[in-house]
């Protein structure tokens, strides 16, 4: 079975852990627990070609304004050997798009090109939605997701599974 290391990256507080929890365990926790380090979870998805084991690396969030560079160093160590990126952003915080894209572009520049999708999370907060996708490259598909109610979560991960199966 094909196995792929998928890195969940983005700013802190965008909902990376909640998305993995929703996708792998079909659960959601209202409380905010920041992630320090990395949690590794797996789920096998049935694609049109073959089953693919997604090994999901849910890593701590990046803070571009943080003077302590240890979190960024840790993130860079986790990214080694990645097969795909899930760029997670918060639809109510426009700046999180830049953070996620920055991590992805840095990786591609220093390693090799790998596929990525972007999840604009917290789609349930439509009243506060301020998402601007104009800076998104054509190669990255965007999914508006909600870890809270599960909106588009399954579809997004499945779409990435299809991309990885086709590689």
């Amino acid at each position: 079975m094909k196995s792929a290391k998928v890195c969940m990256v983005g700013a802190f507080g965008v909902g990376k852990t909640s998305l993995v929890r929703r996708f792998v365990h079909q659960q959601f926790d209202e409380r905010y627990h920041t992630t320090l380090g990395v949690k590794i979870d797996t789920r096998i998805v049935e694609t049109s070609n073959e089953p693919v084991k997604l090994v999901l690396w849910d890593m701590e969030g990046a803070d571009p304004f943080e003077t302590d560079k240890r979190p960024l160093t840790r993130i860079q160590s986790y990214l080694k050997g990645a097969h795909a990126f899930i760029l997670v952003t918060d639809g109510t915080r426009p700046a999180t798009v830049k953070t996620a894209l920055g991590l992805y572009h840095d990786f591609c520049r220093n390693h090799q090109y790998i596929p990525a999708i972007m999840l604009a999370n917290k789609a349930d907060l439509t009243a506060e939605w301020r998402f601007d996708d104009s800076v998104l490259p054509d190669t990255i598909n965007l999914y508006q997701t909600s870890a809270l109610d599960g909106q588009n979560v399954e579809e997004a991960f499945m779409a990435l599974g299809e991309i990885l199966a086709a590689l």
Binding site: I40, E60, T92
Partner: protein, 500 residues
């Protein structure tokens, strides 16, 4: 650290292994576990069994490390509820995984990071709210400007309507005066005059609202009989008191006196207060008492209505406020305007009220007593050009001025006025400001340019005309507002002929 002895190195290693939890896993080329060594027997991780394949999470780490040329460390990896640093040593043929339990350090750092991130998220929310607030303030500013423009448009409209009303009212009042002179024993002209005054006060209330307290209009003091005023108030509200079954009394402590103040404003104040008393009184009586002393007029309007709570007394003077349940009649402007007028006239207003018993409004206004001698109006001579686009006004003042011995030329337009002015020797020009084909002030400037010794009197129905006199220029003797008191008109025309 510099090179140390083997004995020291062993000591350090033993101490480290006593204090820290380590698991060392040896792997073969197929990622099968060859051996598992623990530094302390009481710390273990499930699934690490000799001969089995590595769990997915650790296998994934090994794959990631295989692309690196050097030993790799993965810090703070969550493994079965513990946080560990995982060191990958070796190559694809054989590798060692050194797992170091760092849960305690992780927990300490996690608490700090949680706090930092929560603070940062709060700051972002704060900034977003500030930005939203700034947008709302901007919108508020724009809406306020729109409201101000709408308010200015409303004021212009009301002023314009006021002008439209004033001219015919002036005409009715003037003709009623003529009728009264012709039929001195008839009450009918008096009723006509009374109704006209009432109508005029209603128009003035509208105009006061349009001014919104922003413009300090000039007062227009005239001599008038206090008896006539009290009789008019009595006659005006008699029908209302009968219809509601209320007692109504109008009394004056001094009869037969003539006083001087702005009669129109005084009538406005009285009509507003007495109307208010009748509106809130369902049984009992309404009374109005006049007293004149030391050049002041004291008025007391009392009713036996439902009264006002002490806490509401100040609110009754607020615009569009009608205190009390079920009260829907009236615009809620009368008392607001009344207080403004009293203040403008240099007077005072006091209110006493008791719920269930009634209210008493007391007004004191400067109002000097003047001699009761009919004003001497000796015959005048000369020619006056009177310009107004209202034919009834022209006809009225032609009769009035001719009675004073003057020759009156009338014109109903700017064009006609220019033509007639050239054909007659007019020493005085009386012109309305608003004419159908132009502006009376500009007309006078034109005529004055032709004949520098001509004197002007400017008349308007609009109340918003303070600027008219300032901008009228040389030769303008005075500005008068419709309806014009006959005695005042005589005085001003006589002065204009006398050269100011």
């Amino acid at each position: 650290m510099k090179r140390v002895s083997r004995r020291a190195a062993h000591y350090i290693r033993d101490e480290l292994l006593k204090r820290e939890h380590f698991i060392v896993i040896a792997l073969d080329s197929g990622q099968k576990i060859v051996s598992v060594n623990r530094s302390t027997p009481d710390w273990n991780l499930p699934g690490l069994i000799r001969g089995s394949v590595l769990p997915d999470s650790l296998a994934s780490l090994l794959d990631a490390a295989s692309v690196a040329a050097e030993p790799m460390v993965f810090p703070y990896v969550e493994l079965n509820g513990f946080y560990v640093d995982i060191h990958v040593l070796g190559d694809t043929e054989s590798a060692d995984l050194v797992i170091h339990d760092v849960s305690a350090a992780h927990e300490n750092e996690q608490v700090l990071q949680q706090r930092a991130h929560e603070n940062s998220l709060l700051s972002e929310q704060h900034a977003a709210l500030n930005s939203e607030l700034a947008e709302l303030n901007e919108e508020l500013f724009l809406r306020r400007r729109q409201a101000e423009r709408a308010s200015a448009a409303k004021s212009r409209f009301i002023a314009s309507m006021s002008h439209e009303f004033r001219s015919p009212i002036a005409s009715i009042m003037g003709y009623a005066d003529l009728l009264q002179a012709e039929l001195p024993d008839s009450d009918n002209p008096k009723a006509l005059q009374r109704a006209s005054w009432h109508l005029l006060t209603l128009v003035e209330n509208l105009l006061e609202q349009a001014r919104d307290g922003q413009e300090n209009i000039a007062l227009n003091p005239t001599r008038f009989s206090l008896d006539r005023l009290t009789n008019d108030i009595e006659a005006l509200f008699r029908a209302q008191s009968t219809a509601k079954g209320l007692g109504f009394e109008v009394k004056s402590s001094r009869e037969g006196i003539v006083v001087e103040c702005d009669e129109l404003r005084l009538r406005q104040i009285l009509i507003n207060l007495v109307s208010n008393a009748f509106r809130y009184t369902q049984e009992g009586e309404v009374s109005v008492h006049f007293r004149h002393r030391d050049d002041k007029l004291y008025i007391r309007v009392r009713d036996s209505g439902r009264g006002i709570e002490t806490a509401d007394i100040e609110r009754i003077f607020e615009e569009f406020t009608r205190v009390g349940e079920g009260n829907t009649s009236g615009a809620g402007l009368g008392l607001t305007i009344t207080r403004q007028l009293i203040k403008r006239m240099g007077g005072q207003l006091k209110v006493e009220s008791e719920p269930g018993t009634g209210s008493e409004f007391r007004v004191a206004i400067p109002c000097p007593l003047v001699p009761d001698d009919p004003a001497e109006m000796p015959p005048l001579s000369g020619t006056v050009l009177w310009v107004d686009d209202d034919q009834d006004i022209l006809s009225l003042y032609q009769v009035v001025l001719e009675n004073w011995g003057l020759v009156v030329i009338t014109a109903n337009s700017v064009a006609q006025a220019k033509d007639l002015f050239n054909k007659h020797d007019c020493a005085v020009v009386v012109t309305d400001v608003h004419l159908t084909d132009g502006n009376g002030v500009e007309l006078f400037r034109h005529l004055r340019a032709q004949q520098p010794d001509v004197t002007g009197i400017i008349i308007s129905g609009s109340g918003l005309v303070d600027l008219a006199l300032e901008t009228a220029g040389e030769g303008v003797h005075t500005f008068l507002q419709k309806p014009i008191d006959a005695e005042l008109l005589y005085k001003e025309i006589a002065a204009a002929f006398a050269g100011g």
